[in-house]
């Protein structure tokens, strides 16, 4: 009798679990009524909560765009802070639906970790920052230097490779997070601070004496950062990918947060009509399992790619990053969206 109860419990849990397994990510998200995004525990400009607990940042806005595409409401999203160690597991286990936490796309992560990188929302590369009075103008002059790196990233592997290739030595100081790395670097506990160039620029911008620090010209790696989903649910991957592309196309076509409704009423451009899901333009968003006006809602919620960039990390913000590689392909950058048809 006792055993049968136990077996009953086991069977019941397995049944509940089995039911959950059959559900696609989109259905699960819809049933839950909110999207769960894995975010950074706090990286200025890309994803950090403010005094009231509202998350804001470049990566956070992409999440909000996806939520807006699904629900028509960019606030139906919950952010789960993840560390460098827990992020991929959180995604694999289904704890988060989507990971937008400046993660680098690599082949091993794509294959071994069974993840899918669906797009590159920020093209980055690893660089070095040093104090100006160190008199260093190239990373190759850093022989014997102490270098601060963030642990749990591809950064430490790139760093080891770079110094090895150039046959020079260094002393690594691994730190847990960005603000700690910055503190150590400012205190002079390391000669150079290495991380993604965007992170360096962001750090430099917030320093009290920014003019005394230089970012060295060498970019020692390619760091394509982008949203990640679980392997095996291609439809979900498509939704995230096309939401992102929609933001790019919106910038290309000059659709902004402010004018999206106006454009929807007046446009004669067929691609824009398809993108915004206007009446006579077919139902491409619906084929992804989204409402027809999904991308219109996404743009209305967070603006186009250029606006997101400008609002969070672009020139004029404290972070003050130039578009550089992340300009649209029409302006000499790498951001290029496939045609929406």
């Amino acid at each position: 009798m006792k055993k049968s109860v136990f077996l009953g419990v086991v069977a019941a849990t397995t049944m509940v679990a089995g039911a959950a397994a059959a559900q696609s990510t989109l259905e699960a998200v819809k049933a839950r009524g909110e999207l769960i995004c894995g975010s950074n525990t706090g990286l200025t400009g890309f994803g950090a909560p403010d005094a009231n607990g509202n998350w804001a940042g470049f990566d956070v806005d992409l999440c909000r765009a996806v939520a807006a595409a699904i629900f028509g409401d960019g606030t139906k999203v919950k952010f789960v802070p993840t560390t460098g160690e827990t992020r991929f597991t959180a995604l694999q286990s289904g704890e988060v639906d989507l990971l937008v936490r400046n993660s680098t796309w690599t082949v091993s992560r794509d294959s071994e970790l069974a993840l899918d990188f669906v797009a590159v929302n920020y093209y980055d590369g690893q660089g070095f920052m040093v104090k100006k009075d160190l008199g260093v103008s190239s990373a190759k002059e850093l022989d014997g230097a102490t270098v601060c790196i963030q642990t749990g990233t591809t950064t430490e592997l790139n760093l080891a490779d770079f110094f090895k290739q150039n046959n020079i030595s260094y002393q690594p100081v691994t730190v847990a997070d960005d603000s700690e790395a910055q503190r150590q670097y400012l205190a002079g506990a390391c000669d150079a601070y290495t991380t993604d160039a965007s992170g360096l620029a962001a750090s430099r911008a917030t320093m009290p004496d920014a003019e005394n620090h230089v970012i060295l010209p060498e970019i020692i790696s390619k760091e394509p950062l982008g949203p990640v989903v679980r392997h095996g649910d291609s439809n979900w991957g498509d939704i995230v990918r096309w939401t992102y592309f929609a933001l790019l196309i919106a910038e290309e076509k000059g659709i902004t947060k402010a004018n999206v409704n106006e454009v929807a009423g007046s446009t004669t451009d067929e691609e824009v009509k398809r993108l915004l899901g206007l009446a006579d333009s077919g139902d491409l968003p619906a084929k992804l399992g989204l409402p027809n006006d999904a991308f219109k809602n996404a743009i209305a919620a967070v603006g186009n790619y250029g606006e997101i960039f400008a609002a969070n990390i672009g020139e004029g913000t404290t972070i003050n990053l130039a578009r550089g590689l992340n300009a649209l392909w029409t302006q000499g950058g790498l951001q290029y969206a496939p045609p929406f048809r």
């Binding site: 006792k2 055993k3 136990f6 086991v10 460098g84 160690e85 991929f88 597991t89 694999q92 091993s108 992560r109 071994e112 970790l113 069974a114 160190l134 850093l142 022989d143 014997g144 230097a145 102490t146 642990t151 749990g152 990233t153 430490e156 592997l157 760093l159 080891a160 490779d161 090895k164 260094y170 002393q171 690594p172 100081v173 691994t174 730190v175 847990a176 503190r183 150590q184 205190a187 002079g188 506990a189 390391c190 000669d191 392997h231």
Partner: protein, 425 residues
């Protein structure tokens, strides 16, 4: 429980398995075992299906692949071309070094503070109370973070040690200078201490996953031999004292035996110190003790010492006042009373809780994560786990290693404990 003596021979019935105390415990045990086996098989089958869903497999092959990352403090030979297994051992050694030094230092400090807390000196007693309460009631994590930031914010940068040509011309001293006869440099990156170098190297033996340095081995053997001979000398002296009543003079023999062979070995191998020197960005030569290590060690020592101080104080207070009164009556001074009468007796009360403090300290070394000290958790459970994505293997292996360390420590300390307890005669 009482059972009637003239139990009639009754045949075995199934219900007896539950109601008969003779069988009930067996029934319960079998039932518990079944439940446990069921539970474990449930866990394992879940794990297998989860691994299958994620397309992962459970094997430790990744330990032999190239690690690819660098470790700031590696006490055994390591480079980024070494395997993850070597990285694991580097981490393990780092854990053990902090744990061992921490235990020794915390015990010394804890005993001193515990004794001082009972001091008649009002100021010192109060200071020690403040110390103990402050460290016991604030999380260790805070102490680790604070000692790290104090070390890196208050110490000079390496460039402050530099004497530029203008400064030399003006006769100015640099902003910072080395300590202890210019052999030790404390910078905000770490402490540079001289390292021993040998003209003659004995080489090393490769054991596959790590190589054993024969020079160190030679030192260990020589020291162990000296200590053993010294103990024989002392034992002989004691035997003689017990037989005849005079104790032969042994101090010079002990000195000779303890230090002679080591000095001879050092001279033979051409031991000299390599003193750190400012070159380029950093001090080169010597050994760099990173601040992550020092901070972790300091915080662990101070934190655990506060607990040990309380244990020591309780141990001392547990000794009957009559003992110290008797010692005073014999004319022993307070210091000797403490050393000869009180502490040896208090030791018996102190050791069991001390063991658990040692275990705590060893486990707490894993908090090195806060200052990115690359211990076992930092290498195996940190970067290796991250780069390979093998969380199941890495975590299980790491738990197993920590468990083994804990069991070894408690076994050793229990052995010691049983040797100092009063033997029941």
């Amino acid at each position: 429980m009482a059972v009637a003596s003239d139990v009639p021979k009754e045949s075995f019935r199934l219900s007896m398995l539950i109601y008969d105390t003779r069988y009930r415990s067996i029934t319960i045990q079998i039932f518990v075992l079944l439940l446990f086996a069921l539970f474990v098989s449930w866990l394992i089958s879940n794990t297998i299906s989860n691994l299958a869903i994620r397309g992962k497999e459970f094997n430790f092959g990744f330990l032999w692949s190239r690690a690819g990352y660098d470790i700031g403090q590696a006490l055994i030979p390591y480079s980024n071309d070494s395997s993850h297994l070597t990285a694991l051992f580097v981490g393990l050694v780092n854990t053990l070094v902090v744990a061992l030094l921490g235990c020794v230092l915390a015990t010394i400090l804890g005993v001193i503070i515990g004794v001082l807390r009972l001091s008649k000196n009002w100021l010192v007693g109060r200071l020690m109370t403040v110390y103990v309460e402050m460290f016991r009631n604030v999380p260790l994590l805070l102490w680790i973070l604070l000692s790290y930031v104090i070390l890196s914010e208050t110490t000079p940068q390496p460039r402050d040690f530099r004497v530029t040509d203008e400064m030399a011309a003006a006769g100015e001293a640099p902003a910072a200078s080395m300590m202890l006869f210019d052999t030790v440099a404390v910078t905000n990156r770490g402490t540079n201490i001289p390292s021993p170098l040998f003209d003659v190297s004995l080489g090393s033996v490769d054991l596959g996953f790590m190589s054993v340095n024969l020079t160190i081995l030679a030192y260990i053997l020589v020291i162990a031999g000296s200590v053993w001979i010294n103990r024989r000398i002392l034992a002989a002296a004691r035997a003689r004292q017990e037989a005849t009543g005079d104790r032969p003079v042994t101090w010079w023999k002990s000195l000779l035996v303890l230090f002679g062979p080591v000095i001879a070995l050092s001279v033979g191998l051409g031991l000299h110190l390599e003193i750190p020197e400012l070159k380029g960005f950093n001090f080169a030569g010597g050994i760099l003790v990173a601040h992550s290590f020092t901070a972790l060690l300091i915080a662990l020592t101070l934190y655990t010492a506060a607990f040990i101080a309380e244990i020591v104080r309780a141990g001392i207070m547990a000794i009957n006042r009559g003992q110290s009164e008797a010692a005073f009556a014999l004319g022993l001074r307070p210091g000797r009373t403490m050393n000869l009468i009180i502490l040896p007796q208090a030791l018996r009360v102190i050791i069991p809780p001390l063991i658990s403090q040692f275990l705590n300290l060893t486990k707490n070394t894993s908090l090195g994560i806060a200052v990115s000290y690359l211990d076992l958790r930092g290498t195996l459970g940190g970067i290796t786990l991250n780069q390979t994505g093998r969380e199941l293997e890495c975590m299980l292996l790491m738990m197993l290693i920590y468990l083994t360390i804990s069991l070894i420590i408690s076994a050793l300390m229990n052995l010691y404990n049983s040797s100092v307890q009063i033997k029941a005669r």
